[in-house]
Amino acid sequence: MINFQYLRTTSVKSAIALLLKDKNSKFIAGGTNLIDLMKRGVSAPEKLIDINHVPLKQIELVGNNIVIGALASNTAVAENALIKDKLPLLAMALNAGASAQLRNVATVGGNMMQRTRCGYFYDTEMPCNKRQPGSGCGAVGGFNRMHAIFGTSDKCIAVHPSDMCIALVALDAVVVLANSKGERKISFKDFHRLAGDTPQLDNNLKADEMIIRLEIPVNNLAKNSHYLKVRDRASYAFALVSVAAGMEISNNKITDIRLAMGGVAHKPWRLTASENFLKGKKATIENFEQAAKLAMADAKGYGENNFKLQMAPNTIIEALNVAKSKA
């Protein structure tokens, strides 16, 4: 690791000003992903701007929105009474990720910026268009058991690694970004990108912007929510497939439904067609199966990950079943 320059700042304004000063600089918050990447030589910023002291740790109800500061730790969010009460799906997803130690320092903003866990991305001696555009994709035709089945491009089939983001996309979160001129809002589903021809870009955050907070509209999904993560070991592992499911059921009918999947695409994968199908229908196993089938319409396997074509719909069905069964 090069001996980078380290700066500390205490305000959004100065953080952005420092960022603009040197194009090879990065913000550091929890650092749990960035330091890992720097140790592997995947990332080599010359300047780190420590933003941990910027006051962006709030978790509060503002009008009809739950507002979460970008620097709130994953633990702070998962353990927060308001979140547990109103957005249990988010708490469940957070607790399904990483370990207690990592969640203690990892922040909401950092979690959103987390880079893929693809082995080719991490090994600087292997081809990877995300790390080094134009070098090729090692995973296509290589080890792709963990890789994407939706929205892939021949340039990159890496998956987005976060659990939290799967819940957030399901919960219609809005991301608030700031630059030196002011703030802008972007819907969570539009924050992350598909790989396309520019796999080096994970998201639509601009070079002069900083994630400030999330705004999540209050909903009635709390009772019948479930985050189901299928992985190779019981904890502390990335998802093979995960499903965030939340339903509002009244008079035995599904009046609101949110479904999103992780471990299957370059971004948190919202299952809009399945939601549309289930809306207004009864919460039955037959309908869940049909919804799962609809979710898989455009799925494509790359060999070693073909099992996801079966595991994904199965997991959707199971997640819906568990969510429905919660008393």
Partner: protein, 709 residues
């Protein structure tokens, strides 16, 4: 047992050191002027180094030296013709991807790490193959006999039996991955005196290797290794990177510390070799085994051969007149493997014990009943009686504890919603080894006893076991006994491996104690004291501050008359989720039949640990390569899945705890290997019982459950 530990059981003697952070592992010795070494490794799999540009690294801040084949740091044995193919820094040949090609030494770890990233190599690449399955299937590839073929009775008799099972089983590469990263501190003093702080399972072996490579008298070298953060076999040899570190210290005249990365743990310090095995079993319809054939291919390296006991178990574990085995090793362009816990026997047991279960199913017999029916009275391979074997009792105890009576012989019978429950059993067996060791005992008038031997403790509780042996024999309280190990200057003992330490070193401790006892009795008699006098009084009366004795102990001719093994029976209950394919181990019962249990608490922990390792082998562990590049793709703890706490249910351990009358004075046999051997098959058999799906390729990941119909 519910993990309750009886109050009268003794705690680990080094427990306080380990829970307070005071236990010193190799990297934790403070030496004046300590420098840090970081390796540069090859980025190609096979070929030659054409150029190595070390200029930038040498100029980087804090860098003291960069060593490679370009400057051949002095190692007299390497300067001669012949010897090993892999002479570090004396060859420009690349045998595997990630091979160390240079070491950068700097005054801080960070600086050495950064400077190492500045070293640039160019290569002449050659065609290579890291794909073991491909090498096995390629008729042109090199194949070597790993062990003489074995035949008893008719070859391939299984083929003509009334009921035939013939199946192929695949094991991937597994990596030991002890928690402590590998490394060494080498401190080469003037006059060719060397002190090394090593992570080793054998201080004497490390001492010998350094003496051989550097051609200095063995007594010039002191190897210290008091605490070892796990080994599981990977620290049974001195690896090239350790030699490189000694070279570096000799070259710069300062102590050099190296601690390799977790990624490097996958390439340059061994692995459990991949294996492909075919088992043929033949049986009469009444369940009598009539033929066993075990053919195995094991992975080895191109530059150094490695073999292990993959097909041993088939030769004696079941009563059968017709048995033949064949073991072939196939080189690939990877680092040389090394024994990993249970070693080849664990590999073989997965295949054999899966096949036994398959045969029981084919016969429509309870697999437990089938095993008991074919349990041998004598060792047919060696034509000798077993020194001690209580398998039937172990089956009985274990089957009760797991609730075997709940099991249905028809797979897929126990279903609760999406969860399917199944039960599996397997047996593990390992040679009850005993080597030669020396122990020095010093009995002091202050009431204490010091025991010393150059053995190691990689975790099983060697010091605790030895202390308990001595305490029992001499009636000295445990807290008055100190067992010193992990130092090559102590009386010699073999490396800690093959489940032999307690038997080997414990016997010498026994002999020392017996000798001390008789000396005290003599002294008492000579000074007109009662024969039962306390040794403190006897020593005081004789004006002796202490007495000491050194004893060497080894096995006698009883090994010619008896076949000596440790046995384990593993029972596993699993729940398999039919939609997600996730296998959850719900309950484990392991029964050890390994003679007297000297140290119940640590023995139990060893069995628990073996079961946890077995869960990993069965369900999660696989070192995955991209054969296009010859590089590992999951070479880290996030992607190579060692089981975590949440994977492990409560584990019940039971011991038969009957002394083996012939093995050694304690009647105790080793346990480290049998804790793991066979376990993976018990899981696979339980998965079959739950789902009707027979997975013959480890690990049993959710995708395999979903894929198999």
């Amino acid at each position: 047992m519910n993990n309750q530990i009886l109050k009268d059981e003794n705690d680990r003697v080094d427990g306080v050191y380990k829970v307070t952070g005071k236990a010193k592992y190799f990297a934790e010795y403070e030496l004046p002027g300590l420098t840090y070494g970081v390796l540069v490794t090859s980025t190609i799999t096979k070929g030659k180094i054409l150029s190595l540009d070390t200029k930038a690294a040498e100029k980087a801040p804090g860098v003291i030296s960069v060593l490679s084949h370009l400057n051949k740091p002095s190692a007299p044995a390497y300067e001669q013709e012949g010897g090993p193919a892999m002479k570090i820094f004396y060859t420009d040949k690349i045998f595997f991807n990630g091979q160390p090609i240079a070491i950068v030494v700097a005054n801080t770890f960070e600086r050495a790490t950064y400077a190492a990233s500045l070293v640039k190599a160019t290569y002449a690449k050659e065609e290579f193959n890291t794909d073991f399955e491909k090498a096995v299937n390629d008729t042109e590839s090199k194949k070597l006999q790993g062990q003489p073929d074995y035949k008893r009775g008719v070859e391939n008799a299984y083929k003509t039996a009334e009921v035939v099972v013939e199946q192929k089983y695949h094991l991937p590469i597994e990596t030991h991955n002890p928690m402590e990263l590998h490394g060494i501190i080498a401190d080469w003093h003037p006059n060719n005196q060397v002190t090394v702080y090593a992570k080793t399972q054998g201080v004497k072996a490390t001492q010998g290797t350094i003496a051989n490579v550097f051609k200095i008298p063995i007594e010039n070298i002191q190897v210290k290794s008091e605490f070892v953060g796990g080994g599981f076999g990977m620290a049974l040899r001195t690896w090239p990177l350790e030699i490189a570190t000694v070279m570096a210290s000799k070259h710069i005249g300062k102590p050099v510390k190296i601690m390799i990365t977790r990624m490097q743990m996958f390439t340059m310090v061994g692995n459990r070799p991949a294996a492909i095995q075919t088992i043929g079993l033949g049986a009469n319809k009444d369940g009598t085994l009539t033929g066993i054939t075990h053919r195995a291919f094991g992975e080895t390296s191109v530059y150094e051969n490695f073999t292990e006991g993959v097909v041993n178990m088939a030769k004696f574990m079941y009563q059968c007149d017709n048995v033949n085995t064949q073991y072939t090793v196939v080189p690939v362009d990877l680092g040389v493997p090394i024994w990993m816990r249970g070693p080849g026997e664990a590999t073989g047991a997965f295949a054999l014990e899966s096949a036994i279960d398959e045969m029981a199913h084919a016969l429509n017999m309870d697999p437990l009943e089938f095993r008991i029916k074919n349990d041998p009275e004598r060792d047919q391979q060696r034509n000798k009686p077993f020194s001690d074997k209580n398998i039937k009792e172990a089956y009985r105890v274990g089957s009760q504890k797991i609730g075997w009576s709940e099991r249905k012989n028809k797979p897929g019978s126990l279903v609760d919603g999406q969860l399917k429950t199944g039960y599996g059993v397997s047996i593990g067996v390992f040679n009850a080894n005993r080597g030669r060791a020396s122990v020095k005992g010093t009995l002091k008038a202050d009431g204490s006893l010091i025991l010393q031997s150059a053995t190691s403790d990689i975790g099983p509780g060697t010091g605790t076991g030895m202390t308990l042996i001595a305490s029992k024999l001499l009636g000295i309280p445990v807290n008055k006994i100190k067992f010193e190990l992990g130092d090559s200057s102590l009386p010699p003992a073999p490396s800690q491996g093959g489940s032999a330490t307690l038997s080997t070193v414990g016997s010498a401790v026994n002999d020392v104690c017996v000798s001390l006892k008789s000396t005290i009795a003599e002294l008492a008699a000579n000074s007109n004291m009662d024969a039962t006098s306390n040794f403190i009084d006897v020593l005081k009366k004789n004006n002796l501050p202490s007495i000491e004795v050194t004893k060497q102990s080894q096995a006698g001719k009883e090994r010619d008359d008896y076949s000596m093994y440790s046995f384990s029976i593993h029972f596993v209950k699993v729940k398999v989720h039919s939609l997600t394919g996730v296998v959850k181990v719900d309950k484990i019962v392991s029964v050890g039949d390994s003679g007297t249990i000297v140290s119940p608490k640590t023995a139990r922990s060893q069995m628990v640990g073996g079961a946890v390792g077995g869960v990993g082998m069965a369900l999660t562990e696989e070192s995955i390569l991209d054969h296009r590049y010859g590089r590992y793709i999951n070479n880290n703890f996030a992607d190579y899945h060692v089981p975590v706490n949440a994977d492990i249910p409560e584990i019940e351990v039971h011991f038969i705890n009957k002394p083996d009358p012939y093995i050694n004075p304690m009647g105790a046999k080793g346990m480290g290997e049998i804790a793991l051997i066979g376990f993976s098959a018990a899981v696979a058999n339980a998965v079959f019982n739950a789902t009707g799906k027979r997975i013959r390729t480890l690990p049993i990941t959710p995708d395999k459950i979903l894929a198999t119909s």
